[in-house]
Symmetry: C2
Subunit: 285 residues, 2 copies
């Protein structure tokens, strides 16, 4: 385990070998309908497998939005396990968008679910939400780093409803989003120093709809996951401006509806992914 490559470095390599694109697998009722698929666990699995097949080599990662699998209960989780297994076989990274967040013992259980070799839900990275504090995730961070996996903590979300909380000032005078970014940065620096890895395992979710200059993004020493491109309004150039000071290959840009709308043809999904992927590669460091 100790000499497994870290998630940050694995991501950089995947971006170099393809593009900075991450394709969101969001099998909503509406999208399933537009693909001619049933709103069922089978339909969800079918869409997920098609996306994997279509975007391997063009996107660095897929990001299943777990909520759309959970809509179908246990059978939805079976579909998620199948899509994760298909992605692993195809050699594309998987980021589970589950935004887990709880006290330490509970977080450790989530780590065992998503970041442990033995789990059928094991993925390359998991999104987490730190309302209960990033320090409650100490053990999960160790599990991630030790197994070559990563975390993406939501720092600055792409939706306007999150602004009030994320811009609130802590006792130290920093905004919540700044403090969280600084905590992630410190942990990445420590990991990089201890392991000799190039980039740390502890990523930040920062919406592409944020304004450049409002957060010191260049100092994270870890990966970014960036929602908000395409259907949510931001362009590849917006992302390029926002992350201009970040290391090459460290920024993973998620798009979902704008890619999936090209389906159900895998060839059309592939074309849409290639187009946006190339655009992002030109726009990003």
């Amino acid at each position: 385990m100790a000499d497994r490559a870290g998630f940050g470095d694995r991501l950089v390599e995947a971006v170099r070998a393809s593009t900075p694109l991450c394709v969101g697998v969001d099998p909503s009722s509406a999208l399933l309908g537009s693909w001619g698929l049933d709103d069922s666990a089978d339909g969800v699995e079918r869409m997920g497998r098609t996306v994997v097949e279509a975007v391997v080599g063009t996107a660095a990662a897929i990001k299943p939005q777990v909520a759309y699998f959970e809509r179908h209960g246990t059978r939805g989780y079976a579909a998620l396990e199948a899509v994760i297994a298909a992605a692993r076989e195809a050699g594309i990274l998987v980021v589970a968008d589950a935004k887990r967040g709880d006290i330490d013992a509970t977080m450790t259980a989530y780590g065992e679910a998503w970041l442990s070799d033995a789990s059928p839900l094991a993925v390359d990275a998991l999104t987490v939400s730190a309302y209960l504090g990033l320090a409650a995730m100490e053990q999960v961070m160790k599990m991630a780093s030790g197994s070559g996996r990563g975390l993406f903590a939501v720092v600055a979300s792409s939706n306007p409803e999150g602004r009030s909380l994320q811009e609130a000032r802590t006792a130290a005078g920093q905004r919540v989003e700044e403090e969280l970014l600084a905590e992630l940065s410190a942990r990445n620096e420590a990991e990089v120093a201890a392991t000799g890895r190039g980039l740390g395992s502890f990523g930040a979710v920062v919406g592409a709809t944020r304004t450049a200059g409002s957060l010191p993004l260049g100092g994270l020493h870890g990966p970014f996951l960036v929602p908000g491109v395409g259907a949510q309004g931001a362009t590849a150039n917006d992302v390029g401006a926002l992350f201009s000071r970040c290391p090459e290959g460290s920024v993973l840009v998620n798009a979902s509806r704008s890619i999936l709308a090209a389906g159900p043809s895998a060839a059309e999904v592939a074309r849409a992914a290639r187009e946006l992927g190339d655009e992002l590669r030109s726009a990003l460091p």
Copy 2:
């Protein structure tokens, strides 16, 4: 649907008919071992069913911690569905502790998973986490209220790591926890006014380890879910002092390890639950 009783009123009734106790179903590896059960989905289901059988009539609710089910992937979710079904049949309320939180479309998918009659995961209430803003949960709040179900948003957690974020000051000068409580309160007031219900459906998670007087808890017009009693250090009297101004039956106090440690005998779990339940009934309004 429109004339189904609301979650707040259903909770008050359940507390009156039993006690303010909610028994946390946290089938950790350690607890399963101490019960002589396998650390497997079967072991998890067995523990959950035993808790339901033991505490019906004594506790108002059970609270499965979803992380401990998720550790077992799809089979763990099947165990969770079985425990939820057993609780429904036994007539005890179920609060799914999943702390879901995301942007609006995704939250709606979570609502469909946990708060919709058709879902195998349908429960009486779901815990949510508002790092992305409570306003992103508009649609889910409608789904909850309309189906007689509830939400519990984490306001002030029982762990110290959450303090910095939860006490950060928003632009309006309030602490994050105060602003969230005020938002929940406003929504409960609107719901109560529109429906004639006694108590609203939008609850707050407030740790029993918090200090009385630091939050205007008496004005929520909705239910509370209170972790931190027993193994986490707070007593029934601490809870009584903290919630002294809240309506009768509106406070649901969770205990897990201190009750489950009495197992694997259902009779011993029942005895531990009865003892703490009675103590809480005396201490609370």
